[in-house]
Amino acid sequence: MSDEKEQFEPKIIAYVCNWCTYLGADLAGTNRLEYPANVRIVRLPCTGRIDFNLMVKAFEAGADSVLVSGCHPGDCHYTTGNFHARRRWILFRSLLDTMGIDVDRIHFTWISAAEGKKWQEVVTDITESTRKLGPYTAYQRVCGES
């Protein structure tokens, strides 16, 4: 089991906004900041666009962790999208908690276009923490059943 864990490569799906975090990830690239290759980015205009169904879908698609990231409060390209998003996340997390869905597998961050370094750190940390948690078998089992 343990050495199977060592080989385990978590699948991480990231929903990011087009104007801050996506550009932050671009910057990480331009600066050649290395990080694990486990993350798959879905580019959306704004965190306001990211619905809770997408997070559920990510797990159904076999993600071991989900990352949602956008502009810092006040920097939203569309002025208030991230504020509305934040409010939904607060409520959604409490629902997931009640349903016993592992909230340690859903990560929310603000990463600006200038924070390439933060993107590198966040992705690295999430990958490692997820590696420790192991595959999200609990949910995958749910998905397996019919």
Binding site: F52, N53, V56, K57, E60, P73, G74, T80, F83, H84, R86, R87, R88, W89, I90, L91, F92, R93, S94, L95, L96, D97, T98, M99, G100, I101, D102, H107, F108, T109, W110, V122, A138, R141, V142, C143, G144, E145, S146
Partner: protein, 280 residues
């Protein structure tokens, strides 16, 4: 109370103030109550009021077939009434197109329904007329969400197992949706297949997604009438899900759905001070 109720309705119908009265009827004192739709003053005798009046009749207000009957009067308990506030906020009904007959109510069901044990809406607030009178107890949040609290004592794994078990039992009959006064979408997301948000085949996965979706679509809207749970044929306790969001809403935004007609709906408003201790 019953006489006053019947007289009020007779008046309303005779004076043409309303075209239909939505109230409770009952075959005999033993059997459960059922909704009655009275359009003729002669029939007001059919109306009953007793502790079997469990149904939240507000759910009928959103139905086109009822709307088409014209201006309606509805018999509503203090708890049911809150749904009217939300529906109005969401422009699903014009307040003055409905005459609300508020019933003072110290609780219904034998035994008393769980929601009644922690109810602080014995007296209606926004009703056009209130029949009867009882004390309006004040209930603190801890008491209100006590059941959730004890459920949350379980470990996340146990909770997850619990819901997997429940979702296995779910029949996808969608009674929870049909009876909910807040579920008025013309096309429910679960019926969309391009893209398929929710696997509608008989899979635990789909049920899981469905119950997350149903609960979250009620975020800041669920008034806790518990009809979804009451009508569930397999007895899944959906209240826990509704409660978890309601609790979060009250804790984080001092918001309770349908309680304050002037409060901004929480989905669709925000504060720059909203907490973000969970955001990195």
């Amino acid at each position: 109370m019953l006489r006053k109720l019947q007289n009020t309705c007779r008046q309303l119908l005779l004076e043409g103030k309303v075209d239909v009265v939505i109230g409770y009827g009952q075959a005999d004192s033993e059997s459960p109550t059922h909704p009655v739709f009275i359009t003729d003053a002669k029939d007001v005798k059919k109306l009953v009021w007793n502790d079997k009046c469990l149904i939240n009749l507000v759910t009928y207000l959103k139905r086109p077939e009822i709307k088409s009957l014209g201006k309606s009067a509805i018999v509503a308990k203090g708890c049911d009434e809150r749904a009217i506030v939300v529906l109005e906020k969401e422009s699903q009904l014009e307040r003055d197109s409905v005459f609300v007959i508020g019933m003072a109510c110290a609780g219904v069901g034998q035994p008393l329904l769980p929601k009644c044990k922690v109810c602080d809406a014995h007296m209606p607030q926004v009703a056009d007329i209130i029949i009867g009178s009882v004390e309006n107890p004040s209930v603190d949040a801890d008491t209100r969400y006590a059941e959730l609290k004890s459920f949350l004592k379980k470990s996340p794994e146990e909770r997850h197992k619990h819901w997997v078990k429940e979702c296995r039992r779910c029949l996808k009959c969608y009674a929870c949706r049909q009876t909910c006064p807040m579920c008025y979408c013309e096309r429910c997301i679960v019926d969309v297949n391009q893209p398929q948000y929710i696997d509608s085949s008989a899979s635990t996965k789909g049920n899981f997604a469905w119950h997350i979706t149903r609960a979250f679509h009620l975020a800041g809207r669920c008034v806790g009438c518990d009809e979804c749970t009451r009508v569930c044929p397999v007895g899944i306790d959906l209240r826990l899900l509704n409660m978890s969001i309601a609790k979060s809403a009250e804790q984080n935004f001092e918001f309770r759905a349908g309680v304050d007609p002037d409060a901004k709906p929480i989905i669709g408003s925000y504060s720059e001070q909203d907490r973000e201790d969970f955001i990195r």
